[in-house]
């Protein structure tokens, strides 16, 4: 088949007579493997052949190209290079195009729309564009390779960022505790007016500052409302009951003093 192809079409490229295949098509065998592995696929190989021999991509001499391509594929087989199916598929495509071009044309005029090579040309051109794009991208500076960006240091402030808490969350936690307590230790959660507890804390705080606090100084009988007086009194009793404070009086009707049980 090679013979037939050569006699049929190798004679003319763009009207010029070509008698023999150019010798430089043939790569020394030891270099061949490296060359073949360098191709990204059949389109890459075809483009290489077209560019190397200055063939017109829009008017590809199919016979030439097919011969050259098949030659490489044969060489690949010879050196047992693992041959991708894509290369064999392309062989079939080339041969098919070549055969269709050998068929007599209905009209003298070449209808490029129906040129059997059109699809191959489109694919070759598209692939060539991508090759160019790929080379351009490779040449562009890239961060991490040859493009360097500012990355100076700053000392992080170990500022303590506290979680947000809402009063509802405290309430929910408290409800949870009480619900648990209800099941086994209800009696531990004694009922006390919150304001009594608050006054207990206030009195204890006061006793942190002064050793003795006069009982009557804890409230202003004239100013405070009766509820406040009651609450304060209850707080003092509760503190005494919990043995947190001592209540002392030197003699009857002398001032009553409160001091911490311990200090």
């Amino acid at each position: 088949m090679n013979q037939e192809v050569q006699t049929a079409t190798i004679g003319k490229i763009h009207g010029e007579n070509i008698e023999v295949l150019p010798q430089d098509l043939y790569i020394p065998p030891d270099a061949l493997e490296i060359y073949l592995e360098a191709f990204e696929g059949p389109l890459d190989l075809l483009l290489y052949l077209i560019r190397k021999h200055n063939l017109d991509i829009l008017d590809i001499p199919m016979a030439d190209l097919t011969i050259q391509y098949m030659d490489y594929v044969e060489k690949m087989k010879e050196i047992k290079l693992e041959l991708a199916a894509d290369y064999l598929l392309m062989s079939a495509v080339l041969i098919e195009i070549k055969s269709r071009m050998l068929l007599p044309k209905k009209t003298a005029e070449v209808d490029t729309e129906q040129d059997p090579r059109a699809e191959l040309v489109r694919r070759l051109m598209e692939y060539e564009l991508i090759k160019i794009a790929s080379e351009k991208l490779t040449q562009m500076p890239q961060v991490g390779v040859d493009l360097f960006v500012a990355n100076a240091y700053f000392e992080k402030i170990t500022e303590i960022t506290y979680p947000d808490v809402s009063i509802d969350e405290i309430f929910a936690a408290w409800k949870n505790i009480l619900n648990r307590a209800k099941h086994f230790e209800a009696h531990k959660v004694a009922r006390n007016e919150l304001s009594v507890r608050e006054h207990m804390t206030m009195i204890l705080r006061k006793l942190q500052e002064e050793e003795f606090v006069e009982f009557s100084s804890l409230f202003d009988v004239a100013e405070d409302r009766i509820q406040k007086l009651v609450v304060c009194f209850l707080a003092i009793l509760e503190l005494a009951r919990e043995r947190l404070i001592k209540i002392t009086q030197q003699e009857s009707f002398s001032p009553i003093y409160i001091k911490l049980q311990i200090n």
């Binding site: 700053f154 402030i157 960022t161 309430f171 531990k188 959660v189 919150l194 947190l244 049980q261 311990i262």
Partner: protein
Amino acid sequence: MTDLNNISKIKQILEVALLTSANPLSLDDLQKLFSEKIERSTLRMLLDELKTEWQDRTMELVLVASGYRFKAREEYASYLMRLSPEKVAKYSRAVMEVLAIVAYRQPVTRGEIEEIRGVALNPNAIRQLQERDWIDVIGQKDVPGRPSLYATTKHFLNDFNLRSLSELPDIESFLQNEIPLNV
């Protein structure tokens, strides 16, 4: 690379290396920048000059254990932190329960908190609340071991926008019909 004879070009290369490096660069590292050998003394001198050139600017050239680096002046740190705020953690359930107990049952000892919760208390829970200045020690209880008494602070009231503890949600009324109160 004859332009390297130009000492200011070397200095520029040092500057750009230090500004683009995530890690401090030692004199050995900096020597690698140049194909010809630059004396360490020369590098030190140039780094000194660089430091001076930047002394009124946003960054400062500092020497740390592993080498030189540019670091943002401290005054900018608070702004920079806004770009990547640290994740705010949540308080554990234990911490929230301790807070609730101290708020509603103050003054309380650690032992009482444990008794109410029915489990031993991780000391961390109290420490976290003290750090936050929500609770503090207001005395010791006159029982063996003289345990500290905890109560909520003014700061706690402020943070929760309360005038007094009595403004806390009213749990007693909430539970009134549920718990047999035997005090």
